[in-house]
């Protein structure tokens, strides 16, 4: 039956039919070795990574010569290692997940940038799409953001539902301007924003965005900026002064901004503008993937990554994400509990309520469960337990009764008793001085006695 599946004409079809045959558990990777003569893989491609948890691997030239299974495996080993590097959880992922806690020594710059771009693991995220209209007198913007979200963003988020809870909202902000004045470039006949100045763009806008009032989860902002007619068209240029084709940029752990140029050639103001949401979401979706920590490292030569389907996320990518997130959660919860313990050590007379003790112990229990499930390779449960551990440990840590300031610091008690200590010190000090002077005088006295 698997042979039938592998006899399909293209790799993508083979991948789907293989998935129909057997559902592989999360966290696992199945590699099918196809003979070199197989037509499933296109010419020049030796590995095809599917959108589920399967990979097709073309047997090398030496396969025909080798007879024993061991030799076959040995000859495939390098390829399999590479496949696992791409599809599964590796040492690099652990260091990336723990990058905040591990000193970045031998890590590549690229990996560091990747890990810094993604949001830290959190039980939930708020995603806000904002349309910035700096000049409502000339542009009347319409965007069908509800439909766009449900068709582009929602599939990805529902696939990522085991990782975190997501809530989406959108808003339109009027008279919101960027913090930088774009410069006119006569060669392009357009206004440009250089990559160097992009860091100043966000601040004035951010004051208008409004933080999420309803929850304390981190907010991912995606801004669609439609420049006003005086600064239009507006292009973002990179360091080499080439225009960026997507006309968008992202700010690590904050969100993304896209500039959407409108050629408003209407005679009557304001001009009605309907925004092409397909183009917009085509930019925001990859940015969202990056922010949420879905790594997309460049595949090694000879690899072909299959299209990730309408969800925008392959199963093996989700597995990897769940691995890293679980590890990160476990690390975060452990740090929280450790620092709570340190705090309690510092303040001797702190009162620990029963509910806090309960939360700490259940957090520790969930942590142990999460680690156990991770060892078994049960990703879904590990993720869930690690989330619980984070929630409980944070609830215990941020309990108002554990506020450091509620407890009277010991050093200030000395200040209160200074009226007692100070006069009491005076005779002691005086007698000490006297003793010292006596000791100094004593040799002289001894001489005098000798005489």
């Amino acid at each position: 039956m698997e042979e039938d599946a592998l006899n399909q004409s293209t790799a993508a079809e083979a991948d789907i039919s293989l998935h129909m045959l057997s559902e592989s558990p999360s966290g696992s990777v199945v590699i099918y070795v196809v003979p070199e003569s197989s037509t499933v893989l296109p010419e020049g491609v030796s590995v095809y990574v599917g959108q589920r948890r399967t990979a097709l691997l073309r047997a090398g030239g030496q396969m025909r010569v080798a007879v024993a299974l061991k030799e076959v495996l040995a000859s495939l080993e390098t390829w399999i290692k590479q496949v696992l590097q791409v599809m599964s959880f590796s040492h690099g992922d652990i260091t990336a997940a723990l990058s905040d806690r591990v000193r970045p020594g031998d890590r590549s710059r690229e990996g560091l940038a990747d890990s810094m771009r993604a949001f830290k693991s959190s039980p939930g995220y708020e995603i806000t799409f904002s349309l910035l209209n700096p000049d409502p007198t000339s542009h009347l913007l319409h965007w069908d953001v509800e439909a766009a979200i449900s068709s582009y963003i929602q599939p990805l988020l529902s696939k990522m539902a085991p990782v975190a809870n997501f809530s989406i909202d959108s808003q339109i902000l009027y008279y919101a301007v960027l913090g930088v004045n774009p410069r006119y470039d006569p060669t392009l006949n357009a206004y440009t924003l250089n990559a160097d100045s992009l860091s100043h763009v966000i601040n004035p806008v951010e004051a208008r965005l409004g933080s999420s009032a309803a929850s304390s989860n981190p907010v991912l902002n995606f801004l669609l900026y439609v420049p006003d007619s005086r600064h239009s068209p507006l292009h973002i240029t990179d360091h080499r002064r080439h225009t960026v084709p997507s006309n968008a940029f992202s700010s690590p752990r904050w969100g993304g901004i896209m500039v959407y140029n409108v050629n408003a050639s209407g005679t009557e103001l304001p001009v009605d503008v309907h925004i092409d949401m397909r183009r917009v979401m085509g930019v925001f979706l990859p940015q969202l993937r990056l922010m949420l920590g879905v790594q997309s490292a460049a595949p090694p030569p000879g690899f072909l990554i299959g299209p990730c389907g309408n969800a925008g996320l392959a199963d093996w990518e989700l597995d990897r994400l769940m691995w890293t997130r679980s590890v990160e959660n476990v690390a975060t919860a452990t740090t929280t509990i450790t620092s709570l313990a340190q705090l309690l050590d510092q303040i001797g007379n702190i009162v620990i309520n029963d509910n806090i003790a309960e939360q700490v112990s259940s957090a520790v229990a969930s942590l142990q469960l999460a680690v156990g499930q991770l060892e078994v390779g049960n990703l879904g449960l590990a993720m869930q337990y690690s989330k619980e551990a984070i929630l409980q440990s944070e609830r215990a840590f941020f309990d108002p009764s554990l506020l450091h300031l509620l407890y009277f610091p010991d050093d200030q008690k000395f200040a209160i008793y200074i009226p007692l200590f100070l006069p009491m010190c005076v005779p002691i000090l005086l007698s000490l001085l006297k003793m010292a002077s006596e000791v100094r005088q004593r040799p002289g006295q001894g001489q005098a006695k000798k005489d």
Partner: protein, 667 residues
């Protein structure tokens, strides 16, 4: 001691009354009348409680109030009269009305709901006050056509601010009213404000009936609002939150009037300043970049005698049939500029003088943007001169009084004229403005008594109507540290005992809940009704005092809500402008109107200990101990030895003299 026991008895009795309220409803009135003669105030409370079955009519009031609101809007838009150039300034209104009803129907402020989902309107009313001060009232209204019961639609915002939408959906808020006020509205000098508010911060919220734990939602809501408005609303807790039974009814659609879902709190101490104005302005769709909001320059707004900013969210009907609802957000800002500090004593006001800005454009998102100037007292221009002149005049019934307004429509480019800016200027011709009609309802409050043990709260409610009596609802919230002796509650008007027909009293619990006293009192015509109640000042724990305890402790304003008979019926001049057939019977919405006024907040001194005393005691005892310790230490450590007394100076001098004389030396 005796007083305290009495208080306790009274407390128990009240609790019993509350518990047995339903049972008592059936008993006959006769027995109570017999009891009424006795001096016992507990009995007095009994029969007033029992009289609850006489309907206190809050639902009716609620409806009227809402009706009046709608009516006002309609009035404002309905009667726009385009004056022809050669016509006299005031023409026969009736003739014009017929001509222009068609026009106004087409140009009414509300476009049909099918075209726009959200709407935004802005307006500014400028009213010269009789004291020479000027009152400017901004109103911004954002209407969001989304059904408040459907939760999933709560995520895409256009004109409605996202932060407030999230608050509404997260805490299942049905109605939210919040106001920040600096200064006290002087009713006797200024008349009635459009939207009254007490000094400090006031917050009242109706939750939806799906909320299970209202107290928790209220606590979280106050904390979130405190973050949104940069205010200390997080100091609202159970010790200053009450659930009024009758005074605060929902203003929006819906008929849930179960007070379990209502929370009301006032922070009279809250100081309002720029940091509260900035987040408030940020909620406007145009921010302070365009439209009327450009006038809001904080250095001018806070250089005034009275400043009040408020925000009201409620569900309203989307159309006349009221088949679906939409959310309404009203942001209001009221300022009174003082004649002497802001106007340098000159009776000449302009937008530039008030706000140091002029208007150049309407907010492009607003479906209507208007400036109204009250010219009721100035029909012929004899009192003040208004420039630039405007052809638009609007009439509205505001607080039971027919008013005439000059209207500047900012959406019309002709309003701005050649200079592309609008600077409305009012220049007085006469030094004095005319007599002000005395406000029909007015309240005052003060603390009487001496010493730091007991005191007495006096609340005076004035009914200035010459011949009509009307009932008012008085709501008093008193913190627990003023322990009210409810048996000393007296209500007198014109020297006679005035028995409230409804009393809702909720005794306080120390450190948990405040006193709540609600009464329905009938005010006789042309009278002063005095409500007095004695209290004892509690001694607080030392951590419960504020950082400046000798400043005193604030007690929030009393709230007086009333259906006041309109002055339109009183006004005989009014018949001149109206056809005779329309003015015989006062029509319903004009005969009474809803009004809410706030009295002054109280500042009460509590017995304050000397906070430095413990430290003084520590210092003193420590010094004594240290002195004792020092002498004991000296006694123990000092070695005593006999020392040869050295020769004194006198002796040495004597010996020198003796040596010179050759006499034997002294030893």
């Amino acid at each position: 001691m005796g007083a305290e026991q009495k208080f306790l008895v009274c407390w128990c009795a009240c609790v019993c009354v509350c518990a047995q309220k339903r049972l008592w409803e059936g008993t006959e009135v006769g027995t109570n009348l017999a009891d009424g003669a006795s001096d016992n105030k507990v009995d007095h409370v009994h029969d007033t409680m029992q009289a609850t079955d006489a309907p206190p009519s809050p639902p009716a009031k609620d409806q009227t109030q809402r009706f009046a609101f709608d009516e006002r809007i309609w009035e404002a838009t309905n009667v726009e009269i385009n004056l022809v150039e050669d016509a006299p300034p005031i023409r026969d209104k009736e003739a014009d009305e017929a001509d222009h009803v068609l026009d106004t129907m087409q140009t009414q402020d509300f476009p049909p709901p099918s075209t726009a989902k959200d709407q935004f309107q802005e307006e500014l009313v400028i009213k010269p006050l009789h004291s020479g001060d000027i009152y400017a009232s901004f109103q911004f209204r954002t209407q969001w056509d989304t059904d408040f019961l459907e939760k999933h639609k709560f995520s895409h915002y256009r004109l409605f601010p996202k932060s407030l939408g999230q608050v509404i959906s997260k805490f299942s808020v049905r109605e939210l009213h919040i106001s920040f006020t600096q200064g006290y509205w002087r009713t006797m000098q200024w008349g009635q404000p459009f939207l009254p508010s007490p000094p400090g911060a006031e917050l009242w919220v109706w939750f939806q009936d799906t909320v299970t734990d209202v107290d928790l939602a209220w606590k979280e809501l106050t904390n979130v609002l405190s973050g949104i408005f940069c205010a200390s609303l997080n100091f609202i807790d159970s010790t200053n939150t009450v659930q009024p039974s009758a005074s605060f009814k929902p203003l929006g659609v819906g008929n849930v009037t179960d007070q379990r879902f209502l929370r009301y709190a006032v922070l009279p101490r809250e100081i309002v300043c720029t940091e509260n104005l900035t987040p408030w302005k940020k909620l406007l769709p145009c921010g302070s970049k365009a439209g009327l909001a450009v006038l809001m320059k904080s250095e001018k707004l806070f250089h005034s005698s009275f400043h009040s900013q408020a925000l009201h969210i409620r569900p309203v009907c989307k159309d006349w049939q009221c088949k679906s609802t939409s959310w309404e957000l009203r942001q209001t800002l009221n300022v009174v500029f003082d004649l002497h500090t802001s106007g340098q004593g000159k009776r000449e006001w302009s937008l530039f003088k008030m706000f140091s800005r002029t208007l150049t454009e309407a907010c492009p998102l607003a479906s209507s943007s208007k400036v109204y100037v009250d010219i009721t007292d100035n029909p012929q221009g004899e009192l003040f001169e208004l420039s630039p002149a405007t052809p638009l005049v609007s009439q509205a019934v505001v607080l039971g009084d027919g008013r005439t307004y000059s209207v500047y429509d900012l959406t019309d480019h002709a309003t701005f004229g050649q200079t592309h800016s609008l600077n409305v200027l009012l220049r007085w011709r006469a030094a004095e403005s005319g007599e002000m009609l005395r406000p029909l309802l007015h309240g005052e409050r003060y603390v009487a008594g001496y010493g730091l043990q007991t005191g007495e709260i006096h609340t005076l409610v004035y009914n200035n109507h010459p011949y009509r009596a009307f009932p008012v609802l008085l709501l008093d919230t008193v913190p627990w540290y003023l322990r009210l002796y409810i048996h000393t509650l007296t209500v007198t008007s014109k020297g006679r005992d005035n028995k409230p027909s409804y009393i809702h009293y909720q005794p306080s619990k120390d450190r948990l809940q405040p006193h709540l006293l609600e009464m329905l009192i009938q005010l006789p015509p042309n009278s002063v009704t005095e409500v007095t109640v004695q209290f004892e000042r509690a001694l607080l724990k030392w951590t419960e005092y504020t950082p400046d305890p000798n400043h005193g402790f604030y007690v929030g304003s009393s709230v007086i809500s009333a259906l006041v008979p309109s002055v339109v019926a009183m006004d005989t001049n009014n018949t001149q402008e109206r056809p005779l057939f329309s003015s015989f019977f006062p029509c319903k919405e004009e005969s009474t109107y809803f009004m809410r006024i706030y009295t002054e907040p109280l500042l009460v001194n509590l017995p304050t200990p000397d906070f430095s005393m413990p430290y003084n005691v520590i210092c003193l005892t420590c010094t004594v101990v240290a002195v004792g310790y020092g002498s004991l230490y000296n006694l123990l450590t000092r070695t005593f030895q006999v020392e040869e007394p050295s020769q004194g100076l006198a002796k040495r001098l004597a010996n020198i003299i003796r040596r010179l004389r050759g006499v034997p030396l002294l030893t």
